[in-house]
Subunit: 110 residues, 2 copies
Amino acid sequence: MVQFVHPSTEDITLSGVLAALADPVRLKIFMSLMAQEGCMSCTEAAPDNSIPKSTLSHHFRILREAGLIRTIKRGVENRNVPRAEDIDARFPGLLQTLLPLAAHEHRRAG
Amino acid sequence: MVQFVHPSTEDITLSGVLAALADPVRLKIFMSLMAQEGCMSCTEAAPDNSIPKSTLSHHFRILREAGLIRTIKRGVENRNVPRAEDIDARFPGLLQTLLPLAAHEHRRAG
């Protein structure tokens, strides 16, 4: 059985968070998870259907190892929840600043 | 003569800025430039003397191409200034949030 690795809150680094969110696909995935109440499977949180499953898994692993999301096995599916409270505890104000800027950037590009 | 490439303010992307600042060495360089009045040479802005010159050049190129700094040739030396106003115009509040968090993280690590 796959064991998912989640850093403890105090081990979350600014570099890890910035690197994880620097990728536009990962940023979109994280924004979808933040916008959603409850949790989402990898497929539900994917920005579009054209992304290969292995690429998606890679993106979710980076988000998980950066401490941005928590992945929970539910039967045959993996469910993902954003660790907003942990990120807020480590880096107060970061998500509140970053996410609106990212949403604005996204609308501008679209 | 070397021509430095600087993106126009509107071409600065959030991904580029986050990726540039996700590297701890580049983040330190940028923080030094922000803390300094006026401008600094690559050597002055380097976090320590152990970083090879080619590695430093690479870091400055990434910062420059992300739109975070402007490099100006002054005689035989390259001087670097942070483009804080341009970043503020593109992403209001980003540097004001990120730099204190980075300074705190730096003190915590040190």
